[in-house]
């Protein structure tokens, strides 16, 4: 039987990526009690960073949003593994942290990180609504434009 969240993903025509392996000596997630801590994800797709650059310099807000959305897809891919394949075990998204590679005068970090927040709410509905911060970073791993990490509660 297909789970409710998997059915919703299908409705949205979203195929979760096979989540990328960490780029260094750490793991994609750690569970402590009912909390899953997910490592920061960058907009990797098919082994490549899809959105490289700096907001306020060489990328539009729309490109930044797309990058954030890809980060969120990678987060959900790892989360599915963390739940043993069953995303219906997700109780709620607690918090996401959004990091935007940007120039010192850039101020639209929230609009960029909405790309991740919107995707999570689209997929998980009310359970997807979360606390959040969005900040500017000087640089991000592999030149990525955006990085997003998250904490979820699972049953």
């Amino acid at each position: 039987m297909v789970g409710a969240v998997d059915a919703r993903l299908k409705e949205l025509k979203i195929e979760l990526p096979r989540p990328p392996a960490p780029v260094a000596n750490y793991v994609p997630f750690v569970q402590s009690g009912n909390l899953i801590y997910l490592s920061g994800q960058i907009p990797l797709q098919d082994g490549k960073v899809k959105v490289v650059g700096t907001l306020g310099k060489d990328l539009s807000i729309e490109q930044g949003r797309e990058a954030a959305r890809l980060c969120a897809l990678n987060l959900l891919g790892h989360l599915r593994n963390a739940c043993g394949g069953d995303l219906d075990r997700v109780v709620r998204c607690i918090k996401i942290g959004g990091y935007v590679a940007s120039t010192p005068d850039f101020g639209d970090h929230p609009k960029v990180i909405n790309g991740a927040s919107d995707l999570i709410v689209e997929v998980l509905g009310d359970k997807g609504r979360h606390a959040r911060f969005a900040v500017g970073a000087g640089t991000l791993p592999l030149g990525a434009a955006v990085e997003v990490d998250a904490v979820f509660e699972v049953a």
């Binding site: 960490p22 793991v27 750690v30 801590y37 991000l140």
Partner: protein, 155 residues
């Protein structure tokens, strides 16, 4: 009798540094339930002064990796205090968050952060493997090269 982790530290030739006092109105760590949240720590060198400088501008990636390890030792010192001196109470390292003070074109921040990640795995083995986020920062307190905060699960 020396504990398992104390023995391991001894094997690795590690003496934990003295826990420094926070530089402002906060505490080095807080424990809630089984989680110990450790404040962001900076690298205190052998001379008792902070290790400062920008990666890619006077500080090499290798130096910065060694600096990240020093920050890892500060975190362990705070963690030890949180465990009343008994690191055998540590169940796992849940998450590290690393900020690397670097040039705007330096994107190899994951390799720098490995200095801390590798230390956790060396000390705790499998239980040291953690979720992680690393970003490049445009500035850090006092010009330190690396700042890291952490969450550990303790018994």
């Amino acid at each position: 009798m020396a504990g398992r982790i104390a023995t391991r530290l001894n094997e690795l030739g590690i003496t934990l540094p003295k826990l420094g006092a926070p530089i402002a109105n906060y505490v080095p760590y807080r424990v809630t339930g089984h989680l110990a949240h450790i404040s962001g720590h900076g690298p205190v060198g052998a001379d008792g002064r902070y290790v400062t400088g920008m990666v890619g501008a006077g500080v090499s990636p290798e130096q910065a990796t060694a600096t990240a390890r020093i920050v890892g030792l500060q975190l362990l010192s705070a963690l030890s205090d949180a465990c009343s001196g008994d690191l055998d109470r540590v169940r796992r390292c849940v998450r590290l968050f690393g900020l690397i003070y670097c040039r705007p074109d330096f994107t190899a921040v994951p390799a720098v952060m490995n200095g801390a990640s590798n230390l956790m795995v060396a000390v705790f083995g499998e239980a040291g493997r953690h979720a992680r986020t690393t970003i490049g920062a445009r500035a850090l307190p006092m010009g330190i090269s690396v700042e890291i905060d952490a969450i550990f699960e303790i018994a």
